[in-house]
């Protein structure tokens, strides 16, 4: 039975070449814009996530603490799930940094030696909000002289990034609704254009499935082809741009601090999301549009 409906769907598509091409173009452009929009939102959130990770707590150690003791602490911290990265700055490295920063002030440089600068550990957290708690914990470690981080700046940045993430999600939701509405009205117009025909077919004794199934398969075809093409275009763009080094190393998504995906996986996921949206919208969108013609 479904073979017959599929055959009827393809006969319709062949007969209505111009309408089919127009539908695929309109739906394809909608899916392309949706994909571009989703990518921009994810990219924005990735950049924010990168900024967040650059925020760090610096632990300064007392002079008498030997280097191997600090490296032991570093190893322990690295195994903490909340911590993204650590960096050990020895007294010598601290002095080199100091020299670099003050190279235009020889008087100051002469008065300072490496022995008066403390060794330190720079700690970056996976999630910005865990920084204050981590800082408190570090204060209790053996041999810690001082724990420093810019709490005000970080809390302001956290608020800002939460707002940006929220706006991103709301915009994604709105754009999804808009693009789904465009696809639904495209299908609706296609089906309305043959409303009289559908009424007649019902009046000569067709079952509901005879009327609706070919149209649902037709919608499925439009949705699949248009999302397949737009997903492919986006896939190529993302891969080319990532090869040119225009993207951060991997993508992150808003409220999921630990989520980090490669460009390739992101491009494939985006393609899949578009294809699933295309198929579901095409199939059920047509059912929705044809319903009013099934009452006869």
């Amino acid at each position: 039975m479904h073979n017959k409906y599929i055959k009827n769907a393809f006969n319709n598509i062949k007969k209505e070449k111009l309408l089919s091409i127009t539908n695929i173009i309109v739906m394809g452009i909608t899916f392309l814009l949706l994909g571009v929009f989703l990518s921009v939102v994810v990219l924005t959130q990735t950049v924010l996530r990168d900024f967040e990770r650059q925020a760090q707590v610096t632990i300064f150690f007392k002079d008498e603490i030997p280097e191997n003791k600090i490296l032991e602490i570093e190893t322990k911290l690295k195994s903490d799930e909340r911590i993204f990265a650590t960096n050990y700055i020895s007294k010598e490295e601290a002095f080199n940094i100091f020299k670099e920063l003050n190279k235009d002030d020889p008087v100051l440089l002469e008065s300072v030696t490496s022995s008066i600068l403390p060794a330190s550990l720079e700690v970056q957290a996976k999630d910005l909000s865990s920084l204050p708690r981590l800082a408190e914990e570090f204060k209790g470690l053996d041999g810690v002289e001082e724990v420093r981080f810019f709490e005000d700046v970080i809390s302001r940045f956290k608020k800002f990034s939460t707002v940006v993430y929220s706006i991103g999600f709301v915009l994604v939701f709105l754009f999804l609704v808009i693009s789904y509405a465009v696809v639904l009205s495209t299908l609706r117009m296609t089906i309305n254009s043959k409303g009289v025909e559908l009424e007649i077919i019902k009046l000569v004794g067709a079952r509901n499935s005879y009327v609706k199934m070919p149209l649902m398969y037709q919608g499925l075809f439009y949705g699949f082809i248009s999302s397949l093409i737009s997903g492919f275009i986006l896939f190529v763009i993302i891969i080319v741009l990532s090869k040119l080094g225009n993207f951060p190393a991997s993508f992150g998504v808003g409220f999921f601090p630990n989520l980090s995906i490669s460009h390739f996986v992101f491009a494939i996921l985006l393609w899949l999301i578009l294809i699933i949206s295309g198929c579901v919208l095409g199939y059920f969108g047509s059912l929705f549009a044809v319903k009013k013609y099934l009452k006869y």
Binding site: M1, K4, K15, K194, E197, E199, I200, I201, K202, L203, V204, G205, A206, R207, N208, Y210, Y296
Partner: protein
Amino acid sequence: MQIDFRDITKEYEQQVKALDNISFGIERGEFVFIVGESGAGKTTLIKLLIKEEEPTAGQILFDDVDLSAILKDDISQLRRRVGVVFQDFKLLESKDVFENVAIALDVVDSNDDVIKNVVPNVLSLVGLTHKMHSPPSKLSGGEKQRVSIARALAHEPDVLIADEPTGMIDPKSAMEIMEILEKINSLGTTVVMATHNRDIVDSFKKRVIRLEKGKIISDKKKGTYAQ
């Protein structure tokens, strides 16, 4: 198929009664004219017969099966036993004559061999074999109505219902259509035809049910338009 209308009332919004408590029966193989002026309730009666609309009160029985008991999903089964000819032909403009007739068989899942066999036969019955591959736009009104009749006959219905089948065609074509309907009736199919064409009703001497303002005002075995 025997048809029984029992105390049928059809009310539209604002309590306008298109049919007001009417009862009548149609025997198997009968030819019945339903006559009356525009607005008398003829089209409503036809719509109730094919379950395009539901009565407000009363029962319609097809061989003792109550139409109101037929579920929405089974309406298609009913319509396969009843062929319908519409005043405005209701042809599919995107399909040719053959395809327009074939659709009636395709919807009941007839295979291609049956379709190839039956369609030329019914087109020959209505005298349109030579126009088999013409689009409806190339046909005259009379020819369009003959395609509509061929489509209604394709699945060999028990009853043929015609709603003003001569309403949009010239008198000569109207007579040809009537001859085809009479021929179909002589082969055993019940024909119910709504019309307000006085000449046709008077010249065929069939049963005439006359409606006025939704009520039956006469029902004669061999009637005329006036009586």
